[in-house]
């Protein structure tokens, strides 16, 4: 069987996008290829196609989010779907309704897809078991953030042509980062070496079991790295002090120009899932420097989310 035939035979079969863990390499490539085909739409003067016309998408955000919610909303609207937003503060969760009851009520309004962000790991999976609609995980607890990892993979692939064999360093609060979790799973599935580094208080056991190489120092992590990704220090999610001060953190773990110039590959890509604490996890000279693809990540985010919406809703024959 030729490569082309294999590709032709492939079918995307996922009703839900709960995490990178459930996606195969073929699924990931298919999503990224689909995203590339959709990316062009966003550069047109009329940024709208009728692909998902008549489809109903609910953005169900239990946690504050600006960019992910907006990215999904733009993606949906560029494909002509109808979108509705619910935030935790306005939902019945504040009145004591359980997540499952809320989901059943939403289901009664027959949405096609519910995009969920939730502070509890596993919450999107719980919803998926109780509703008919497709569920897309837009970040759950410290578990996964699959669309972010997919846009990261898309960005790296666009710049390097491939992900296989690359050395990718992820620096910072690995323990609290669902982005890091999904990135480790995704990049290693595609054959990259993922290294993680940060103070020990930012680490959790079993990162190696996920596929990451746990580095003892930031220098070890960025040495010969093709990609360096800094994670945001999630001050809002830390109920116990993991670092003494932001000042000290930036001094020892902040990504700066000298560090990259000295140790990383000259054409290193600099990434960040945003929003950046400038001067803390990343210096402005790096965030705005020549290797920075941070804003491309945002652009690709829309394309990836268009692809995900298309794929989960298209699977029931509703394409076109």
């Amino acid at each position: 069987m030729s490569t082309k035939n294999v590709k032709d035979a492939y079918q995307f079969k996922h009703k839900h996008i709960l995490g990178i863990e459930q996606l195969s390499v073929a699924d990931i490539f298919h999503i990224l290829d689909t995203a590339i085909s959709f990316k062009e739409i966003s550069s047109r003067s009329i940024k709208k196609v009728p692909t998902l016309k008549g489809k109903t998408i609910i953005n169900f955000f239990f946690e504050p989010s600006t960019r992910t919610r907006l990215s999904f909303e733009i993606a949906a609207k560029r494909m002509s779907a109808d979108t509705f937003n619910i935030a935790a503060s306005t939902s019945s969760a504040t009145k004591g309704e359980t997540l499952i009851d809320t989901a059943r009520n939403l289901q009664a309004m027959n949405p096609d897809t519910i995009i969920v962000r939730h502070g509890s790991s596993g919450a999107p999976g719980l919803l998926a078991r109780h509703v008919e609609a497709s569920i897309i995980n837009a970040g759950d607890g410290t578990h996964e953030h699959p669309s972010q990892a997919l846009l990261d993979m898309m960005t790296v692939r666009e710049h390097r042509g491939t992900v296989e064999g690359l050395k990718i360093a992820i620096v910072g609060d690995i323990a609290h980062s669902r982005v890091a979790h999904s990135d480790i799973l995704g990049f290693t599935k595609l054959g990259a070496e993922v290294r993680v580094a940060g103070p020990e208080t930012f680490m959790v056991p079993g990162l190696d079991a996920l596929g990451a190489r746990v580095c003892g120092s930031i220098v070890e992590a960025v040495t010969d790295a093709d990609v360096v990704m800094a994670l945001r220090i999630q001050r809002e999610r830390q109920d116990d002090p993991l670092i003494p001060s932001l000042r000290e953190y930036s001094q020892f773990y902040g990504i700066n120009h000298n560090l990259l110039q000295k140790h990383a590959r000259p054409d290193v890509l600099v990434m960040h899932p945003g929003p950046i604490n400038r001067g803390v996890e990343m210096n402005p000279d790096v965030a705005d420097g020549k290797g920075s693809v941070i804003l491309e990540q945002v652009t690709n985010g829309v394309a990836v989310r268009m692809a995900l919406l298309y794929l989960v809703m298209g699977r029931e024959g509703g394409r076109g």
Binding site: E21, T98, L99, I100, H118, S120, S121, G122, A123, G125, L126, D140, G141, T142, H143, E144, R178, H181, V204, P205, G206, L207, A209, L210, D239, D240
Partner: protein, 428 residues
């Protein structure tokens, strides 16, 4: 439920760890007491041929939650003891974390009266260590003891104040009460919802390290040494804690310990895809811990198998994992899971009966634990071969929160007798 004047069990395998008996024979019960066998079977006798089955002292579960008073929608004394009888238990000790907390004579009496009125098993109330289990100020142990409490514990919560725990052991000693410790260093376990390890990282759940248990177990041992009093460590889940207990026992500290079937049967992998029926505190640990727990049952580190039977309704369990309640039911699966240890060659049959009956009786200083003549007729007949699928429909507890749902299990209590009264019967 029937009461017979005379009950005769024939041709069973009699197992009694107290007398060391392991022999084929008959057991006669008259007026609630075990009596010598006679040549002729009198009229009005209820006779069972229990060939191939074990006749053992009634099983005693020294750690259950009956939820009454206060949370009767989860369990009542009636439903909980019914589940106990079905699981082969003739007695249970119930933890005080009810609403209100069992920290005074009136609550203790409420429990003992309800148990006498509608219980299918003996119920031994455990009083609170501290008033309201709030960790400040001792409860009134003398009064609790008089009302029927056999032990004190703030189970569900550790006693964080070490001085208070020291005083509790000393004062409980004065009233001949056992202190049962829920050993958990809260600063380490706070916000955790499962064992800290590879699985918690994969699932993105906040972990509870094994050290959270070991640290507090060591404190309890140190306080038992300081005071010279008894301490019982509840629901041990880790190899580290088992090791500390074994060392303490070796140097003569008055420490006893229990573990639960889920800790020697499952690991944290059972959480699977956020299965809240595998959420409990302490959490399921690693395979290494599971093996250490099995070894501890074998070598005498553990004195007892208890279930920590913790019924919850779907209201507490059908939730996001980190928001779901801790706890699993256990009364109706404990015997089957413990029998697996015997089949696996981890422990012998006599040792299993000791862990599930004689030792709990000894530790709690209550009747039962032996089928020697002249003793109360608390008896369990076990069919070690009986196979069944543990389904939600078959559960007598109000709680259905078991990680063993739909498991095929082997070995079951087929007759449970409490004081000569049959409380569970699968023989007829």
């Amino acid at each position: 439920m029937t009461t017979v004047n005379r009950l005769i069990l024939q041709n069973g395998r009699l197992l009694d760890p107290v007398t060391g008996v392991d022999a084929k024979g008959d057991l006669w019960v008259e007026d609630g007491v075990i009596v010598p066998a006679q040549k002729e079977i009198p009229e009005n006798s209820e006779v069972y041929d229990v060939h191939g089955k074990w006749i053992v002292p009634g099983l005693i579960d020294m750690h259950v939650h009956l939820r009454e008073p206060g949370e009767e929608y989860k369990e009542t004394i009636k439903s909980g003891t019914r589940a106990a009888a079905a699981g082969g238990f003739t007695a249970v000790a119930c933890m005080p974390n009810t609403t209100p907390v069992n920290d005074c004579a009136s609550v203790t009496q409420f429990i003992t009266k309800a148990a006498t009125r509608e219980g299918s098993a003996r119920v031994y109330p455990v009083g609170a260590i501290s008033k309201g289990s709030k960790g400040a100020g001792l409860a009134e142990y003398g009064e609790l003891r008089q009302a029927g409490a056999v032990a004190v514990s703030d189970d569900g919560l550790p006693v964080l104040d070490s001085q208070l725990m020291r005083r509790a052991m000393q004062y409980a000693g004065s009233h001949d009460l056992l202190v049962i410790s829920h050993s958990e260093e809260m600063a380490l376990s706070r916000n955790g919802s499962m064992n800290e390890g590879v699985v918690s990282t994969r699932l993105g759940l906040r972990g509870i390290p094994a050290a959270a248990e070991a640290i507090m177990v060591y404190r309890e041992i140190a306080l038992a040494e300081l005071t010279g009093q008894r301490i019982h460590i509840a629901h041990v889940s880790t190899g580290a804690a088992a090791e500390l207990i074994a060392q303490a026992k070796a140097r003569g500290v008055r420490v006893t310990a229990e573990t639960a079937p889920h800790y020697f049967t499952l690991t944290d992998e059972a959480v699977g895809d956020y299965n809240t029926n595998a959420k409990m505190n302490p959490p399921l640990r690693t395979e290494k811990d599971r093996q250490a727990i099995r070894k501890g049952l074998q070598d005498g580190t553990f004195d007892a198998i208890a279930t920590d039977h913790a019924p919850h309704s779907v209201l507490e369990k059908e939730l996001e994992f980190d928001r779901a309640a801790n706890g699993v039911i256990g009364l109706e699966t404990s015997l089957s899971l413990s029998l697996a240890l015997v089949r696996d060659g981890v422990i012998g049959a006599l040792r299993m009966v000791e862990l599930m009956s004689s030792a709990p009786a000894r530790i709690l200083q209550v009747e039962g634990g032996t089928i020697a003549q002249g003793n109360v007729a608390d008896i369990t007949v076990i069919d070690p071969e009986k196979r069944y699928v543990f389904t939600e429909d078959s559960i007598l507890s109000k709680g259905k929160n078991s990680p063993f749902l739909d498991w095929e299990l082997q070995g079951k209590a087929v007759l449970t007798v409490m004081g000569g009264r049959i409380t569970h019967n699968e023989l007829t």
